[in-house]
C-alpha cells in the first residue's frame, strides 16, 4: 500500500513509566486517511496511552509517530493538526459555549466573521446552535459532550481523537450519539481514532478495530473479521460471548473436542495438532430431542435477555456450554446440541506448555519465576541458563502467596468449557499460564508451587 495513504503511522512504540511499568510494548499501527479506527481493550491495556502519544500529551520511550509521513513524535500538541475530545469533556468553565468552541480559531487569528461562520456551523452539526450564550456548567452531560465535539471539529483537524467520549452517558443517549458520530464521520470525511472498552460500541461504529491487551496489539481487523475469526483466545473472549474449548485437529476438516469428532471448515493443521475451538452461543442449535444433537446435556440456567434466552448447559462429561436461543429451555431440561461446520472457529494453540527461563542453583534446584524450585536430580553445572518446561495443568496455585514457592498475580481468566485457563504474572515479571478447575478472580495475589517431577529441563 502506498505510504501516502496512511495518515498516521505508529512505529514500534514502547512506553515505559518511571518504576519500570511497561504500558505499551513495541506497538505498530498504520491508519488510513478517512478511516474510523477504534482502539478497543480492557482498562490498563494501553489504548489511552497510545491515543495520548498520538495527540502529543506524552512521548514514547522508544519508537516514532508519523503524520502523513512526517515524524511528529516530539512535536508538542499545539503544533499538531490533531484535535481531541476528552472523556470528561474538559470544557473551559470561564467561557460560554460560543467562546469554548471558538477557542482554537481565536488562537489561529482567524477573522471575526470567519470564526462566527465556522462556530455556528459546528454547533449546527452537533445540534447545539441555540446554545451559544449558555454557561457550559449549566449543560447536561450529553450537551457538554456535543460542545466538546464541536470545539474539536471546528478547527478542521486532519485527525480527530476521541478518548472514551461516550462512557459517561446513559445507555440510550450513548447509542444515539454513536449513530450521530458515525454520521459526522461520513459527512466530515476526517480520520477518527476512537478509544473504548465497550466492544459493542466498537463493533457498531468502526471501519477497523485494533484490539489491545496488556500493552500489546492482539488483533487488527474489520468488525466482522474480529467477530467471526478472532486471532486468539483473548480476542475471542473479549469480543462477544464465546465458548472456547481445548481440542485437537484430527485432520483437515475434522476437529475433535469434548472427546468427539466434528466436521469443520478449517484445514492446514498438522495431524493431531492441539487447537482451541471457538463457538458463539448464538451458533449452538438446540434440539428438543437429545438424540437429534451432536452432543447432549442438561440445562442448568435459563435467563431472559429481551431478544433471546441465555442458557447454560452441562454435558455429561463435565463441560459447561453457553447457548443463546429464541426459545426457552427451562432449567432441568435434557437437550441435544449441534453446531454447523462453518460456525466452528479453530485457532492454533499459542503454546503447549510453559517455557520458563531458569538458572541452575545446584543438582536439585533451579532459580526461576523469582524463587528457588526443587527439581529431580540433574547433572548440569551451577549457573547454567536453561529453559524449563512445565505443563499448564502442573502448576499449583495457592490462596496465600506465602505458602507458594513463588508469588504472582492473576491477570486474565479464560473459561475453557470444563476448566479455567489463567494468565499469571509472577513477581519477577515473567508470565506463565495455568490450567485449573479452581475458581479465581482477576488481580488475586497467589502462591505458585510446582512438584519437582513436573519441572522438565529442556535444553
Amino acid at each position: 500500500m502506498d505510504k501516502s495513504d496512511y495518515i498516521i503511522q505508529v512505529e514500534h512504540v514502547t512506553k515505559r513509566f518511571d518504576g519500570g511499568k511497561v504500558v505499551l510494548n513495541d506497538v505498530s499501527l498504520n491508519i488510513k486517511r478517512g478511516e474510523f479506527v477504534t482502539l478497543l481493550g480492557p482498562s490498563g491495556c494501553g489504548k489511552t496511552t497510545l491515543l495520548r502519544i498520538i495527540a502529543g500529551f506524552t512521548q514514547p520511550t522508544e519508537g516514532k509517530v508519523l503524520l502523513s509521513g512526517k515524524d511528529i513524535t516530539t512535536l508538542p500538541p499545539y503544533q499538531r493538526p490533531v484535535n481531541t475530545v476528552f472523556q470528561r469533556y474538559a470544557l473551559f468553565p470561564h467561557l460560554n459555549v460560543y467562546d469554548n468552541v471558538a477557542f482554537g480559531l481565536k488562537l489561529q487569528k482567524v477573522s471575526e466573521d470567519e470564526i462566527d461562520k465556522r462556530v455556528m456551523s459546528a454547533l449546527r452539526i452537533v445540534g447545539m446552535n441555540e446554545y451559544e450564550e449558555r454557561n457550559v456548567n449549566a449543560l447536561s452531560g450529553g450537551q457538554q459532550q456535543r460542545v466538546a465535539i464541536a470545539r474539536a471539529i471546528v478547527n478542521r483537524p486532519q485527525v480527530l481523537l476521541l478518548d472514551e467520549p461516550l462512557s459517561a452517558l446513559d445507555h440510550k443517549l450513548r447509542v444515539d450519539m454513536q449513530l450521530e458520530l458515525k454520521q459526522m464521520h461520513r459527512d466530515l470525511g476526517i480520520t477518527f481514532i476512537f478509544v473504548t472498552h465497550d466492544q459493542e460500541e466498537a463493533l457498531s461504529m468502526s471501519d477497523t478495530i485494533v484490539v489491545m491487551n496488556d500493552s500489546v496489539i492482539q488483533q487488527i481487523g474489520t468488525p466482522t473479521d474480529i467477530y467471526n475469526e478472532p486471532a486468539n483466545p483473548f480476542v475471542a473472549d473479549f469480543i462477544g460471548e464465546s465458548n472456547i474449548l481445548n481440542g485437537i485437529m484430527k485432520r483437515d476438516f475434522v476437529v475433535n473436542f469434548m472427546d468427539k469428532d466434528f466436521p469443520c471448515v478449517d484445514k492446514g493443521f498438522e495431524a493431531d495438532a492441539p487447537i482451541d475451538v471457538v463457538i458463539r452461543p448464538e451458533d449452538v442449535v438446540m434440539h428438543k430431542d437429545p438424540k437429534d444433537g451432536q452432543w447432549t446435556g442438561r440445562v442448568t440456567s435459563c435467563i431472559f435477555k429481551g431478544i433471546h434466552y441465555e442458557m447454560l448447559v452441562q454435558t455429561p462429561d463435565g463441560y459447561e456450554i453457553q447457548v443463546q436461543d429464541y426459545t426457552a429451555y427451562p432449567a432441568g431440561t435434557e437437550v441435544g446440541m449441534s453446531v454447523a461446520p462453518e460456525n466452528l472457529h479453530v485457532m492454533p494453540c499459542q503454546s503447549l506448555y510453559n517455557a520458563i527461563d531458569a538458572t541452575v542453583i545446584d543438582a536439585t534446584h533451579v532459580f526461576m519465576l523469582g524463587a528457588a524450585f526443587e527439581t529431580k536430580l540433574h547433572t548440569l553445572p551451577k549457573g547454567t541458563h536453561v529453559k524449563v518446561a512445565v505443563d499448564f495443568d502442573k502448576v499449583d496455585l495457592l490462596d496465600d502467596p506465602a505458602d507458594g514457592t513463588a508469588e504472582g498475580q492473576i491477570r486474565n481468566i479464560l473459561y475453557k468449557g470444563n476448566h479455567y485457563f489463567i494468565d499469571v504474572k509472577c513477581s519477577n515479571g515473567a508470565n506463565i499460564q495455568v490450567d485449573t478447575n479452581d475458581v479465581w478472580e482477576d488481580w488475586d495475589m497467589i502462591g505458585i508451587s510446582i512438584k519437582p517431577e513436573d519441572i522438565r529441563i529442556i535444553n
Binding site: G56, F57, Y78, R88, A90, L91, L107, A152, N155
Partner: protein, 252 residues
Amino acid sequence: MVSKILANRANWVWPYAIVLLVFVVMPLVMIVYYSFQDAEGQWSLHNFHKFFLSTDSLNTLIYSIGIAMITTILCILLGYPAAYFMSKKEYGLPKVMAALFILPMWINVLLRTLATVALFDFAHLPLGEGALIFGMVYNFLPFMVYPIYNTMLKMDGSLIEAAQDLGASPRKVFTEVFFPLSMPGVYSGIVMVFMPTISTFALAELLTMNNVKLFGTLIQENINAGLLGYGAALSLIVLILIGLTSFFDSEE
C-alpha cells in the same frame, strides 16, 4: 423543670444567642449609638461632620487605604509566583514548603513584629514607612499565598491539555486558561489581606516608632482620650468600608 427545658432542642441555642448578643450585637449597636452622639450627649451628625472636615483624619484614611493597597499588590506580586511554583509538580518543590509558609502564623504577631524591629536595628536600616510595608507584607503574605495555592492545586489538568490540544502555546495556555482560572484564589487573597490591613495599628506603632499614623491608630487615640463619639464614628466608617470590599469577593 431543667430537664424539660433541655429536652427541647431549640432551647440549646440560648447560650450561644446570649454570647452573640452581648459580644457581637451589643458592641455594634453601641458603636452606632455613640457615633451619632456629640459632646453634650445629643443626637447629631457632629462626629461625621468633624471627620469629613478634618483634613488630618481624611488624610489618615486615604493614607491607610494606600498602604493597604500597596501591601496587597506586593503580596500578589510575591505570592502568585510562589503559589505557582509550589503547585506545579515539575518544579520539584516538596509539599512541606507550603506548610513552611504557614509556620510563622503559629508565632504571635507582636512577637514577630518586635523581631522585625530588632532585625532592622541589626541591619542598621531605618524604621519607618519602608519597615511598615515590609512588616505588613511579611505578616499577610501567607494569607495571599494559601488561597491562590489551593485554587491552583485544584485546577483541572485536562483543561490545560485541552488548551494545548486546541493550539495554545505555553504562554497562551497561561494567559487564556490558567490565569483566568486562578483568579478566584487571587480574589480570596485580596479580601484576606486588604480588609485587615486597613485597620491594623500595632504594626504601624512598632515598625515606625509611632511616626506613621494609620487609621486604626487614630481610632485608638480618640477612644483613649475619651472622645468616644468620634472614635465610634471612625470605627463605623471602617466597618462600612470593610462591608463594601466584601462585595468585591462575591461579585466574582
